[in-house]
Symmetry: C2
Subunit: 276 residues, 2 copies
């Protein structure tokens, strides 16, 4: 199968590599991408094509793996370039956004949601797929490092699942960092950690580990938190948890390339980027 | 010492009993309280006084243990009744609210924050105290089931600590229930629980246990969540987590006397009390 992978970031490159490992031909569009992306794509065995117009010509399937706020624009660009195959949106977007992308590809659309780290080891990463052709797309990954799972025909089910999943994991990570920042601001950090060590063993370590693991990725979480907030609002549930989480991650965006993103660096970013 | 305990709810009665166990005389005000309160107070060894005016006359210390939204009004009433001793506010209020109560008792105020369940067993419940006379109040509990800890002279430190502590515990409880409700609304509950069982072992059970433990108490959490939200806002941090948590608990308020408050009952309350 001829697959176009947009774009080979850390996650996308691993998805492309999984397809290559099963004998599919996977291309990507070099125009406007960085040298780091080119290097990742090359290592993953993907074939560079200069322009989007050139890439869509012979692609039977296009898979979108990009920041959530870029998903609709990318889909429109692919459609405008004349793509006629099956479009798979694998992004962390609200069900309403997934339906919007689906409307751009009325002939053949598959919704997707990726859970887990980039797929470089077996059993770590699941690619949920939904829509009429979900099973066909899932079959492309059979025997690869990506555990692709078809969920049925609903055109927004995979996105709904991804939103619910990330709502707790990334939402609770933002909450614990916000609470540590609140303690800092109120001068009761030592008291809080002492109390946690008595009644909530593990939370002190968890807050520190969350800072380290989240800081390099926080810059791309804001958009995802806004999509989750929209999902709550559309379900007549309060959207405040994830509007707040979006703000916490936005304040941490500058930690993308921090040398040692520990809890002190994270708290400093959260506390110092305030509005005072 | 003559102590006035306002009011002997589930927590307050245990605080009163701890003082009685150390030989202090503890009174409460019967006027306007329920038969259940009278029964709890009697079992705790507290002495009923008919009116607030009568109770403040010989009290050297008054301890306020009430819903956070009632804290300021209760303080004003005690002041208006002529109380001249040390006022201890043990409620889950924002530091700004604690300072407001402190201003009502310029002569002698102690801030408090209670962490843990009602104090009926050793080592379970800490009563944090701050302010100039914090150590004197803490000493009243020496050798009792209440682990009272003086934190220093700041008149809002105990409240700040309580806010930070509850911000994570009750905030994450509201978040996990909100996420379960989001999955219900989106028809992906089974998919989410299956994914949790793979990658977040324990979360399914934790969400169910949270529903059971939280439902009977949710009715009194809304006010506390609003105090926490105010604490975040005052610290130039996003207050959305706890505004949302307040709404989740408000929707669950009707479960106070539910026969079997399981996850289904909680989700039904959260989903059905929407604005549609």
């Amino acid at each position: 199968m001829q697959v176009l992978l947009l774009h080979p970031g850390a996650m996308g490159a691993s998805i492309g590599a999984a397809l290559v490992s099963r004998g599919h031909f996977v291309s990507w569009v070099a125009e406007g991408r960085s040298a780091a992306t080119a290097s990742r794509a090359s290592e993953a065995g993907l074939r560079a094509v200069d322009t989007l117009a050139g890439a869509v010509a012979d692609a039977e399937v296009a898979i979108s793996v990009c920041p959530p706020d870029a998903a609709v624009t990318l889909a429109k660009n692919v459609q405008a370039a004349g793509f006629e195959g099956t479009y798979v949106d694998g992004n962390a977007v609200a069900p309403a956004t997934a339906r919007e992308v689906a409307s751009i590809f009325p002939a053949s659309y598959v919704d997707g949601g990726i859970i887990g780290p980039p797929a470089w080891r077996e059993g770590a990463t699941r690619f949920y797929l939904s829509g009429a052709n979900a099973a066909d797309i899932a079959a492309l990954f059979d025997g690869s490092l990506v555990d692709a799972r078809a969920m049925g025909e609903r055109i927004d089910a995979a996105s709904a699942l991804k939103m619910c999943y990330a709502a707790f994991t990334k939402g609770s990570s933002a909450l614990i960092l916000a609470v540590r920042a609140l303690a800092e601001r109120n001068g009761v950090t030592e008291d809080l950690l002492r109390e946690w060590n008595v009644s909530q063993p593990g939370l002190t370590g968890r807050s520190a580990a969350t800072a380290t693991s989240t800081s390099p990725k926080a810059w791309r979480f804001e958009g995802e938190m806004r999509e989750i907030a929209a999902t709550f609002a559309a379900a007549d549930l309060p959207d405040g948890f994830h509007q707040a989480a979006a703000e916490i991650y936005a304040r941490m965006a500058g930690l993308k390339d921090a040398a040692s993103p520990d809890i002190d660096a994270a708290l400093s970013a959260i506390v110092q980027s305030d509005s005072r």
